[in-house]
Structures are given as C-alpha cells and as structure tokens.
Amino acid sequence: MERLLIKNFFRSKGVVIGLGILLIAGLISLKIGKEFQDKNQRILEKTAQVQQDNIDRYVGYYKNAIGKALYFIRFGITNETSNLSGLSIGQRDINPSIACVSITSLEGQKYTSELINPMYKLLGNMDFSFVLIYFFPLIIIAFCFNLFSEEKEGGTWSLILTQSQEPVKILKTKVNIRLISIFSILIVLLGTAKFYLNIPISAPFLAYTLIAILYLCFWFSLCWLVISFRKNSNANALILLFSWIVLTIVVPASINAVVIRLYPISEAYNTVLDNREGVHNKWDKDRETTINQFKELYPQFNRYKHPKNAPFSWLWFYASQEIGDVEAQTSAIKLMEKLQQRDTFSHYVGMLFPTIHTQLSLNSISLSDSKNFLNYIVELEQFHKQKRLYFYPKIFTNSSALEEDWHSFPVATFQDKVDINWLRIIIPFLLIIGLCLIFSETNFSKISNT
C-alpha cells in the first residue's frame, strides 16, 4: 500500500516541480551564505592589511608625535563569524562584523558600519533560514492542503471507506510520505551546507538541524489539524495560506511595531548629540576643568600636567575625548539596556509563534542575533579602553612613535559563546505541535467511517 501511495504521489508533476524548486532555492541560499562568508573573510584579510599600512603611514608622518599618530590610527576588532551564519545571516546583514576604532571618543565610532553593498540592508538576504521559514511551509501547504479533500472530491474516499478497516491510516501514510520527501530535501541541503560552508558537526549545527526539523513538523501538524476539519480543498488552501501570511508576515511585523512602541530608543539620538556636544564644547571651556574631570576618572594620570594657559596639549585633547564619552554615558547605557530589553521581549513573545521562535533561535545559535551584537559592543568598549589606557602614558610623555612595536597590534577577535538552551528551543515547538495533534486526533476520531 505504501509503495503504491508513494508511486501515486511522485507521479504527479507538481510534486517533482515543488521539490525541485525547494532544492534549487535551498542551493541558491547556500551560495548566498557562501558569498557572505567569503565577503567576511575578504574584509578580515583586507582590514589586517589596511591596519598595518595605516600604522606604517601615520607613524612615518608623525614620528615624534605619537598623540597625533594615534588620532589617525585605527585598531580593528572582529566579531568572529560562526560558520553557521552562512545558513542564518540574521542581523549580520545590518551590523558589521568588524569595527576599527581610534582611541578618540568611542561613542561616535561604535555604530559605524562597513561600506560594503548597503543594498542588502534594504532587501535582506535570501539565506537558508529564509528558505526554511518562508519557502518550505509553502511547499508543505501545497502538498498537504488537499490530502483528504482530494479523496473526497475525486471520489476515491467512498471506495477506501468500504475497503479499509482504518481509513485514517491511509491519510497518515500519505502525510508521512510528504513529510519524508520534504525532510529528504532538508537533509540534502543541510548535508551540502555542512561541506560547502565548512560547518563542523557540533552542538550548534545539531541544534540548527533540530530547530529546522521541529519547525517543519509544526507546519505538518498545522496542515494535519486543518485537514482534520474535513473542509473542501478551497477552504483548506485558504485557511493554510492565511495562516502562512499571518505567521510569516503579519505577526513578525506586528511584534516589531509593538517592540518599537514599548521600547522607543530616543537615546540613540541623544547619545550622538550628548557625545558630540561633550567632545566639541570642550574647545570653548577652560582646559583645566576638563583635565580635572579626566584625572578624577584616572587618578593614576595625576602626575601629567597641561602647560599653563596653553590652548592645546595631547593630555587635554584626549581628556576631552574621554569626557565626551562620559557625558554620553547615561544615554549610551540606556540605549544598550533598551536594545537588550527589545531582544528579551522578542524572544519571549516569539516563543508563541514558531516562525519568530525559529528565526530568533537560528540567529542566536549562528551568532547573528542582536544579543551577539550587544556582546560585541561591550567587548569593543573593553578593547577601546584597554588601547586607551595603554597609549595614554606614552601620549602624555610624548614618547616617540618609533619606539612602539606596532606589529604587536594585529586585528583582535571577539569570540562570542554560543549559548544553546535546549529546553527553551524545543519546548515551545513541542507544545504547539502537541496541541495541533491532540485537536486533530479528536477531529479524526469522529470521522472514522464517514
């Protein structure tokens, strides 16, 4: 029986076309992921080179004024890209994976992004997670919407009812055939990705696979639930497409709107203003006031002096940069907190909607979510501070730039930790799949013979 049902399924042209489209879309998405990885690799290599060239150039120009050289020299720190992000580019589209900062005021440099193809920022990428979240369900719907109604409408159901002792079992076999065919495509794509994108078989990759499987199971269970109401094909198609639109488009857009409303980040604007104001108004203020504020912050630099009544010294200049950051600090901290709150809120609300839960979980384990970016910003602050504190004494004593071993400053790397909370990933899926199956089981038990 199974063999014949499989034959019947694969002999319809639509099935082969549907699976073919899915496979091609998946392969294209892998190619896009590969390009993303290559682009990151290129940027990384170039940055290392540019950083060294940059150092050599400015040290050459300002041999005896390290303070001036450091005004121009930028130090890079990359946000290490997980190979999985080739499958789930996530916010890496918007947030740069590398930042190059000078030891001047940080706030203005934090959110500067790279200048490579800003087009993607408008469109987003058709990465694998997009294919998984948007395309796979459409094919599942196309395969399943008339699973039962085609038997009713095609007239075979009455014959099945008189022949079979367990007619619902045939529907289950049919849905399993579709499930296996779709999962085969998923496994082929993930297998290809493993080698093509060079993803190691590790807990994050297994988690990624598990999420993908659970997400598709959710769509199958939703289809099964809709089928169990025994509506006609048109009604089923409508209900399922409506669910697709709501879950993939309407709900994410609405949650986004809610997030923006609940956590408005006016601080983003304030931080920029406070910082600019903080840095620039120091030129109009008494130099000693700024320096005293700076020394309060770093008592270890008490012994360095600003030449009396001089309009400029490197001590004062870097103090003004530092105090500019301090004055923007309140807004900056609030900004970070609110970004954190947005992330947490989205994660919790997202658990109710498998599409959002899937996207956020995939981005999270691929280190391409907003949490990773926030961790990176914290690391960037540390990195920046450490560079400042290292160079301040050298600047304040006006040591020669030539004395520094500049080659000991390669591009630094921030390696975020993948945090896989298995229960938090799995339970929302299991609950909603379970609900769909329980409801459909009740519906099917009513119809065993009609």
Partner: protein
C-alpha cells in the same frame, strides 16, 4: 444476507427513507428502481454504514451495520455510479491498492486475472487510469469487488453512462457472481437491465418500497408500465 427492518432516515423534516423492509437472500440479485430522490442511494448508504438510520436497522450477514461497521465492511463490496480511481496509478496498481486495503495480497498475475475476468482490455492493465473511459474504470471497480471476495455486493447505478455492450458484459459478470452465492443489491434507472439481471425488482417512491415483483414473471414493458404507475 441483506436485511432492512423498518429502516428509516430523516433529514430534518424531509423523510428520505420510511419503514423500509427488505430481505435479500444469498445468491439473489435485487434491483431497486425509482426516480431520483426516491431513497435508493440512501438505502445503499445505510448498508454501507455511511449514514446512520433514524429508525430501524440495516443488517448484513446478520449483523447490524451501525453497531458492527468494521465487521460488516469485511463482507461487502461497493461499486458506486462513478468508480473513481487514482489517476496516476495503472489499472493493476489501483486494483492492487484497493485489495491491499481490504487485507488481500495478490500477485501481479492474480490481479491481471481479475482484470481479465471483468473484460478489461489487456493493453490497459499497465496504463495510468487517467486515460481510462468510464466503462474501463467501472470494470476495475468490479474487479476490486470480485477480488474482495465479498458475500454482499452493493451497486449504485453501476451501468449509468455505459454503452450497451459494456452494460451487457457487466450484467453477465453480476449474474456469475450471484450464481456463486453473492447477494446483490443494485440501485438503477435502467428498467431493461433490472429485468435482465435481477431476481426481484423493487420500485421505490418517496422513501418507501411501493412494489416488489419477480423479474421472471414480468416483461420489460410491463415493468416499465408498473414503474410509471408506481413511482
């Protein structure tokens, strides 16, 4: 074998079947004549267990259908007005599929023998059913019924839309089955076919069996006159 006791079915205020009493013996072919809406299909659906009677009971091989749906199903086969099969499967595959559902496992040769017996052209055995005519599908439907080896055969206007030759072949097979002990209930509009095939003919009107005649004792013309008078 096929018994209806005061079988009634009501849809709201509309009476589809009213106190129908019927007793079809083993090896007997009973033809139900009647206009559209007279209750023929409702009667068959009650025996199939597709609908639950409002009153009375339908029995197949002594078992009440609604209380023993799965059990009675085993002993009956059904051929609807339009046998619908899986268009992507061949004739043999369709027969194999539906026989497997009924719990039979036949070899390819056995399946072909069934199709041969119902007169399906051998070149159609391995062809996809999407290219079959109605008559060809009807033949596969009969093959499915024969392969099930059912004691009871329920036919709902099985010859409507068939050409005279196909209808005639159909009658022959039905008679053969009855001779081997199958009890057959056939709803039809075809007075001539009913007279040809059936042991007894019942005429239905508004859910009631208004008349029953022995087919042998009446000519086709007389049957037609009776039909017009009774229905």
């Amino acid at each position: 074998m096929i018994i209806a006791k005061k079988l009634s079915k009501q849809y709201g205020s509309k009476v589809a079947l009213n106190n129908l009493d019927l007793h079809i013996k083993q090896g007997e072919i009973f033809a139900l004549l009647g206009q559209n809406g007279a209750g023929k299909t409702t009667t068959i659906n009650c025996f199939l267990g597709f609908i639950e009677p409002t009153n009375g009971e339908a029995l197949i091989t002594g078992l009440t259908v609604n209380e023993n749906v799965l059990e009675t199903k085993k002993s009956l086969a059904y051929i609807p007005e339009n046998v619908m099969l899986y268009p992507n499967l061949t004739g043999v595959e369709n027969l194999s599929f539906f026989s497997t559902l009924a719990g039979f496992s036949y070899t390819n040769n056995e399946l072909k023998r069934f199709l041969d017996r119902v007169g399906l052209n051998p070149e159609a055995y391995e062809r996809q059913v999407s290219s079959f005519s109605k008559g060809m599908r009807q033949k596969v439907g009969i093959a499915i019924a024969i392969a099930k080896n059912a004691k009871v055969l329920l036919l709902d206007e099985p010859t409507s839309g068939l050409d005279p030759k196909a209808s005639n072949e159909f009658s022959i097979i039905i008679k053969e089955l009855a001779e081997k002990g199958t009890s057959i209930l056939m709803a039809t509009h075809d007075i001539f076919r009913a007279k040809e095939v059936a042991t007894r003919v019942g005429i239905m009107k508004q859910g009631e069996l208004s008349s029953i005649v022995e087919a042998k004792k009446i000519s086709a013309n007389e049957l037609e006159a009776l039909y017009i008078q009774m229905s």
